[in-house]
């Protein structure tokens, strides 16, 4: 949502906003972060998420032709 030094305002969804410490990650406004006890500990990779899903589809399709 917004970024100020080590502090960021993070949208947790459904209207929940909280200040989160982002000093452990390189996060930019607009990215998804994994938050643990008030700290962002990792930036989520949307491309990886989509890739995982397409990989699953491949696995599930295999052997069903």
């Amino acid at each position: 949502m917004s970024l100020d030094g080590t502090k960021a305002h993070v949208d947790f969804g459904q209207g929940v906003l909280r200040e989160v410490n982002v000093s452990l990650v390189e996060a930019k406004v607009g990215e998804y972060v994994l938050v643990h006890a008030g700290y962002a500990i990792q930036v989520l990779e949307e491309n990886e998420a989509l890739e995982t899903l397409s990989l699953w589809n491949e696995v599930l399709a295999a052997g069903q032709e």
Binding site: H36, A37, T52, L60
Partner: protein, 362 residues
């Protein structure tokens, strides 16, 4: 992430479950172990065990950081609280039994014990009440330890210190492989610990122990997929390290977090409730940060405590040797409102997870 819901889509779950049946062995048991309270929650909450063939078992290892804090370290916090120090902690820690008293009981007797959402909240309290001493009970695995490290290396007020109870997951996984009659066939490795430490620490299990290991996320389909991946390896007599949770876990983990942990802590032997002493499994603040180490600052060192109450079988639940319902106290003398053992206290404890789910008790 528009596709987020796909990770818990029931139709996809059933397709994966079908796929699991095709690779599961026709005879003989297969047993996989996870080491994360949140994995146990996902498995229990979504009833994933009911989707598995009868000969595929998933057990819960020591994945609850609150449950494995030894009574002696709760006793240290209680002693400090009784001396007038303000103890701050996560909500789960409050009711963990010490040898004589939990922090909640100390609070009821007049001590100043406060729940915080984040350690930074405790630091703010210390800043606004400079006449009092504040101690934060730092409990957690590698997911939480870097947070303590950042604060310890930062600009802390003089009246603030840590009672560090951090533990490391890979040594506990290695212990499980030494428990002869557990006979684990593969590990579901914890996603959020791995987000910090990366994949390298698990290489030991595949290379030395030939143990299939899959790092998994926390949506139901993540867990089902990891079980499929483990079964596939098992059927091919393979032992690979795979990452199902690549949207969060990078091979190198979080280098910034690893660096601050190295700066702030040394690795030492540590006691685990119900397990005993494990080498290289605990973190301790470096001597240069001794002023923030409550044990040094207040000279409080409890060597031994009473970890397991009479009749409680937490020590067997913690290593996955028995299921909660096999403990004679489960849902009788030991319930979420009146827990006897640590596994019933924390929302990540196996007994607590099962207690909150009627189907798991059937």
């Amino acid at each position: 992430m528009a596709d987020n819901l796909r990770f818990r889509n029931p139709e996809l779950a059933h397709s994966i479950a079908q796929k699991i049946k095709t690779v599961a062995p026709k005879k003989g048991m297969v047993k996989f172990c996870h080491v994360c309270g949140t994995h146990e929650w996902t498995i229990t909450h979504y009833g994933l065990r009911s989707l598995l063939p009868e000969n595929v078992e998933v057990i819960a290892g020591p994945g609850c950081p609150v449950c494995i804090v030894p009574a002696a370290e709760i006793d240290e916090a209680v002693q400090l609280a009784q001396k007038g120090v303000v103890i701050t902690c996560f909500g789960d820690v409050l009711r963990v039994p010490g040898s004589q008293s939990s922090l909640l009981e100390a609070k009821a007797a007049g001590a100043d014990v406060r729940i915080v959402y984040a350690v930074s909240d405790a630091v703010e309290m210390a800043k606004s009440e400079p006449a009092k001493q504040f101690v934060f009970s730092a409990v957690g695995f590698e997911t939480t330890a870097p947070i303590t490290a950042v604060e310890a290396l930062g600009d802390l007020p003089k009246n603030f210190s840590f009672l560090v109870s951090h533990r490391l997951i890979p040594p506990a996984m290695e212990l499980l492989l030494g428990v002869g009659d557990l006979q684990i066939d593969g590990f579901i490795a914890p996603g959020h610990v791995s987000a910090i430490i990366g994949l390298k620490p698990y290489e030991l299990f595949t290379r030395v122990y030939r143990m299939p290991t899959v790092v998994a996320g926390f949506e139901p389909n993540d867990v089902l997929m990891s079980i499929y991946m483990l079964l596939k390896q098992h059927s091919e007599h393979d032992a690979q390290l795979e990452n199902e949770y690549s949207r969060v876990v990078k091979p190198e983990g979080n280098p910034k977090a690893i660096e601050v942990m190295k700066k702030a802590f040394t690795v030492t032997a540590g006691n685990w409730r119900g397990i005993g002493r494990l080498p290289d499994s605990a973190l301790q603040l470096r001597p240069s940060l001794a002023q923030y180490d409550a044990r040094e600052k207040f000279d409080v060192h409890v060597k031994e405590g009473k970890d397991i109450n009479f009749g409680c079988e937490c020590h067997l639940v913690i290593i996955g040797k028995i299921k909660p319902k096999e403990c004679p106290l489960f849902m009788k003398a030991c319930t979420p409102t009146k827990p006897v053992g640590a596994c019933m206290v924390s929302s990540e404890g196996t007994c607590r997870v099962w207690a909150k789910n009627a189907a798991a008790q059937a």
